[in-house]
Symmetry: C2
Subunit: 326 residues, 2 copies
């Protein structure tokens, strides 16, 4: 697993190593074919932004991070489980440059491996021995599902409003960041006002992260992303930049976008032209402005954290999350 | 929802009505297409043996069933969620005579609806405000997944041993009965010995239930089951009666069974002949003998329950579960 070089990741390196060990142990299954696959998924595990957020939220109020490590492992595993099901639903053949499970095992096994990882993440949440933490965990899972159901069934309309987009990306991304920060603050023993602010910090960060991810999908090509530019559009998913573009574009251009979303227009050169048109329309910049408003809101909420060092780490994590997507 | 006519179901009718209401409320999603589908699944909900078991386990030790109702709703929803994913994996087009979700919505939506119901069941478990209950809940989910992974990837060998079959049906069925009884006993405030006995009662009952279900699959035809006799065999799943038959049959018959399991032999008349041969071989009766040993073991464990009435209801539930399958 690749560690980031940053002060926050370095300062929390011992706890993150424990998180990794806890995750690997929880994801062990006594069944040869599956166990190797699960180990690969867990090792691929990404940047561990979510467990780090949880640990830092706890560290804002308490020096004792032991229970926070357990919850952070639960959050990382919940994230992994949700990626397993998402990949299956998107039928994406690659994620982070690695073949996904879909390329390797049957549909049924993928669903069950995801369920198994959900179960293990729930066991970790229960191991915190704090029903408030478990409730946040379960609610977060429900919100993630809500977001994914909306993305699967309802993202394919150009005429959706901003509230619908917000709710979708909240479930898809911000709910887990918010839940991680809230669980950390609860475990750290924060008062309810502080818990609310930390949660809101996580939600703001997640909203910014997802909007910038949606911008990135249109701005960058296959070399950076491992998938073609405009992948969301190709999948029929309408994102904020596309909504801004539709507000500005003429009727013929909107009709082309609608045909792509509906799957009626699949010609790559037509889609490439639309991606190019979105890029020069100012829609990406307009979406970025929205994202940075969330970043500013998140930053302001950090005034609740009294410890200078931890506040600095949270700010660094926020900037790192944003930088990753620009 | 169809109520059973039995003393136990009648005596617990007020609590079961509350369970139904709790389940329906938890399964509500503010999204029209999906909400109707989920309501249908939840209403189809089956016999509610598992929530009744949980309620009776709690009633064995306490008169206060309020928290038990919440947990019972969680168990019923966990069962429903697991059926949604199972149906998808089995690609069964009918369950209890009703079209399954697969026949109605996309693969991705089915996975997500199952995940959403898992999340809601976890929220109900957390609402008991008892981390021991939540831990049992999460562990049960993990065991169900373990059983399903084994059934999907490892049930397709005739040369499997009895331990492998036992572990599979434990995960597939007995874990949830055991978990339901254990949660009920914990909520009822039982001591650890009694909790262990009640859990073991549930496990025994679940093992008997599944073996008899496997017998039923071979004994009955489409009119009773809504699917052809020998459906497990057709799906390549080896069950106890088939294992007994293989022990008795000659090499040529075993080779035919192996070809069916491997999917190399798909001729319906050949499969029908094997089903007929299993029926007259004594294999069904041998499997039933095993099931009744579990029933006897379960019955003996009930001596721990002091309240005559509740013990009588548990015995009735046990007999009802067994009768359903014979």
């Amino acid at each position: 697993m690749k560690l980031q070089t940053s002060d926050a990741f370095e300062a929390l390196a011992p706890e993150l190593t424990l998180v990794d060990q806890r995750v690997e142990r929880a994801a062990t299954i006594d069944f040869p074919i599956v166990s190797t696959l699960i180990e690969d998924i867990v090792r691929a595990g990404g940047k561990r932004l979510r467990p780090l957020l949880l640990l830092l939220a706890a560290r804002s109020f308490s020096a004792d991070l032991e229970r926070a490590v357990t919850a952070a492992a639960g959050i990382q595993l919940l994230h992994t489980a949700s990626l397993v099901h998402d990949d299956h639903i998107d039928r994406a053949a690659l994620r982070r440059g690695q073949p996904t499970l879909n390329a390797q095992v049957s549909s049924g096994a993928v669903i069950l491996i995801g369920d198994f990882l959900f179960a293990q993440s729930a066991i970790l949440a229960a191991a915190t021995n704090d029903t408030r933490v478990v409730t946040i965990f379960a609610t977060t899972l429900a919100e993630i599902c809500d977001g994914q159901i909306r993305e699967t069934l309802d993202a394919h309309r150009l005429n959706q409003n901003r509230d619908e987009y917000d709710r979708r990306i909240y479930g898809k991304t911000a709910a887990l960041f918010g839940g991680a920060a809230e669980m950390g603050a609860v475990i750290g023993g924060a008062d309810n006002t502080s818990i609310g602010e930390l949660r809101a910090f996580g939600v703001d960060m997640g909203m910014a992260f997802q909007i910038l991810d949606d911008v990135l999908d249109l701005r960058e090509g296959a070399q950076v992303l491992g998938k073609p530019a405009g992948n969301d559009l190709r999948q029929g998913v309408v994102t904020l930049p596309t909504m801004y573009y539709a507000d500005l574009a003429d009727a013929a251009s909107c009709a082309t976008v609608e045909a792509i979303i509906a799957g009626d227009e699949t010609d790559d050169s037509v889609i490439d032209d639309v991606v190019a048109a979105i890029r020069v329309s100012g829609a990406l910049e307009a979406a970025e402005t929205e994202a940075f408003a969330y970043v500013q809101s998140a930053e302001a909420r950090l005034s609740i954290v009294e410890d200078d060092e931890t506040r600095g780490y949270l700010l660094e994590l926020l900037n790192m999350t944003v930088a990753r997507s620009t």
